[in-house]
Symmetry: C2
Subunit: 366 residues, 2 copies
């Protein structure tokens, strides 16, 4: 059986809503209100200026952001933000920025930051295999740090914070790549949030940055234009030709979130229901399935688990593939199984997976 | 009348071949050999590794490149290359790199290069309004320059070089964004070529870089990973999530170039025929239409012209739009009219435009 879009549990690029795909399919040949292929419309057209504005406005309204926040649509993924943040806020600084090392992706940010200035890794879960997240009491937060950087959801290990970290007098910078717009996030408590699109909000090729105006008041003036948040803000993300297609699809997903889903609180309820189905299946398997993350730190987006008998994992993955599931193999850095259940994955898709898991356990335990 | 894809004379993002659009339209819901939406396939899948490899191979074979060249598919547009080139080759250098200032886009490269090291602008057409290009005798080429940088085709002004510039003992770096893969280009005489996709070879969101291996032997080792050509080479452009969609569409266009068109020599013949039709119409208009570029420097890609009577330009553009043409207004930096006739624009589309031009002249001259 071929894999099904509706059963795409990939860690990303992930599934998008079917209504969005159907609209995009039409637009490839002709965007109705323009008459041209989506791929041949000028980025300087009034139509595209309106696309950027509505995308900005939708993100602003979904997050409840005030006028002192800017919304940017950039290229380069979270990886580019690993560098842009310290280029902007850490170069030439005496006090180190504080970083948390809670998993694979927060670890990727560290060497890029060190290229730009001093950092202090105030907590690391590496020695214990990235199975849990710190309590507030474990974090020695400094009032002198230029900023605090952390990752809200570790995609590989399936660990997610359920609170906002840090001090109110130190700018909070958060990589929300894998849970952005999946739930309300108290966005105004952050100075800068970044998220590439390819988990919850669009295709690969565009990255959303939400940044508070006053964070940039002392930013260097000698950065290359495309790495300069202020120049990007001034140009409304149209400094040079932006990724028109990826931005447009992101617009359609934000419309779906606002109008079809009804907002982030509603999205959160659906995502909680999906995660509960999977974690219950794991917890009620009598140890046949073993969750990776400590229970209080379990992610609503990425459910990472193993089978008690590692010999069975290959058979599990092969049978899942034969049943039309896609993307269930764990990240190459961790192995095992991972079910990524981003916004566009339906409750019924998760029910299909949990039924498969129960059936697999039943068949192989007898 | 709505604008027609077949009459899209935009400066870019430009028209793509209809056969490519039809294939992409199908792939949005399901890539046949995978079964999933193009937007939901993992960038770490075997399928996508094969997409990157075939795209690299096609570009390599179209250009006749040897094994000592690498083909990269990056984000950030030509603008990112304006910085990556001097970050890699100019930082800490004593001798200035040599730059030509032949129009709007080569001018955009200058301030970005100056941020990284010393440059020497050895020729500028600014004072004469960017209407012609230099002869070799006008270029004081230094054997000590770390590299020579120029733009092969100035998109805004419609100026194009018909020869390779520079010395064989100094690396040639060329921005071919608006004429890459439109004709044979003696690629092996260059150390590095870059071109964003959205003119001739794909949608906005991906940039092709062709780089000779030995150019990078002394490159700095402290660049952010995504700005480090060597790390990108090692990762086959899959260092972090690449723009899957834009790369895949670029693959389809290279297939079209190889198999439908038959290669760059054939593409060049078609492009020459298209440009000849437009320049003949201008030259035979008795001064009603006035070409911007000096005759020997006329571009085969962008035909920039004005009307003798500037009052008529608005009427020309309005009537052209009403007739289904798109994108004929000149770049905001120059004004006037510009017909961009990239690879995917057909000879018959250009004939439709020249017939319109002749008709417009006839109607308004009487």
């Amino acid at each position: 059986m071929k894999p099904q879009n509706s059963l795409n549990f990939s860690g990303g690029p992930g599934a998008l809503p079917e209504s969005v795909l159907l609209q995009v399919q039409q637009d490839i040949l002709e965007v109705p209100e323009v008459g041209l292929s989506l791929l041949g419309i000028s980025h300087r057209s009034d139509w595209f200026a309106a696309v950027i504005k509505e995308t900005e406005d939708n993100i602003r309204s979904l997050l409840g952001l005030g006028a002192d926040y800017h919304v940017l649509l950039l290229q380069g993924g979270a990886t580019q933000q690993f560098s842009m943040v310290p280029m902007t806020l850490l170069r030439g600084k005496k006090h180190p920025a504080q970083y948390l090392h809670t998993g694979y992706w927060s670890g990727k940010a560290l060497p890029q930051a060190r290229l730009e200035g001093p950092i202090d890794v105030i907590w690391s879960g590496e020695a214990s295999g990235f199975r849990h997240l710190p309590d507030d009491s474990e974090l020695a937060l400094s009032p002198d740090a230029p900023y605090l950087h952390y990752v809200s959801n570790e995609t590989v290990e399936g660990l997610q914070f359920n609170r906002v970290l840090g001090r109110d007098d130190v700018p909070r910078i958060c990589d929300m790549s894998s849970d952005f717009l999946s739930r309300p996030c108290e966005a105004e408590r952050f100075a800068l949030i970044y998220a590439h699109a390819q988990k919850n909000i669009g295709p690969a090729g565009v990255t959303v940055v939400v940044v508070k105006d006053d964070l940039l008041k002392d930013a260097p003036t000698n950065l290359p234009a495309f790495l300069d948040y202020r120049q990007q803000i001034q140009a409304h993300s149209n400094l040079n030709t932006p990724p028109v297609f990826a931005i447009y699809v992101t617009l359609l997903v934000t419309r779906w979130l606002k109008h079809d889903v009804g907002g982030l609180a509603q999205m959160d309820q659906i995502n909680q229901a999906k995660a509960a189905l999977l974690y219950q299946t794991i917890d009620q398997s009598g140890g046949f399935y073993v969750g990776h993350a400590a229970t209080p730190n379990r992610s609503l987006m990425n459910v990472a688990f193993t089978l008690r008998d590692p010999e069975l994992e290959k058979r599990f993955l092969a049978q899942a593939q034969a049943a039309g599931f896609y993307g269930l193999a764990g990240h190459r850095a961790l192995g095992g199984i991972r079910a990524s259940i981003y916004n566009a994955l339906s409750v019924s898709a998760v029910q299909t997976l949990t039924a498969f898991m129960q059936d697999f356990q039943h068949r192989t335990s007898h």
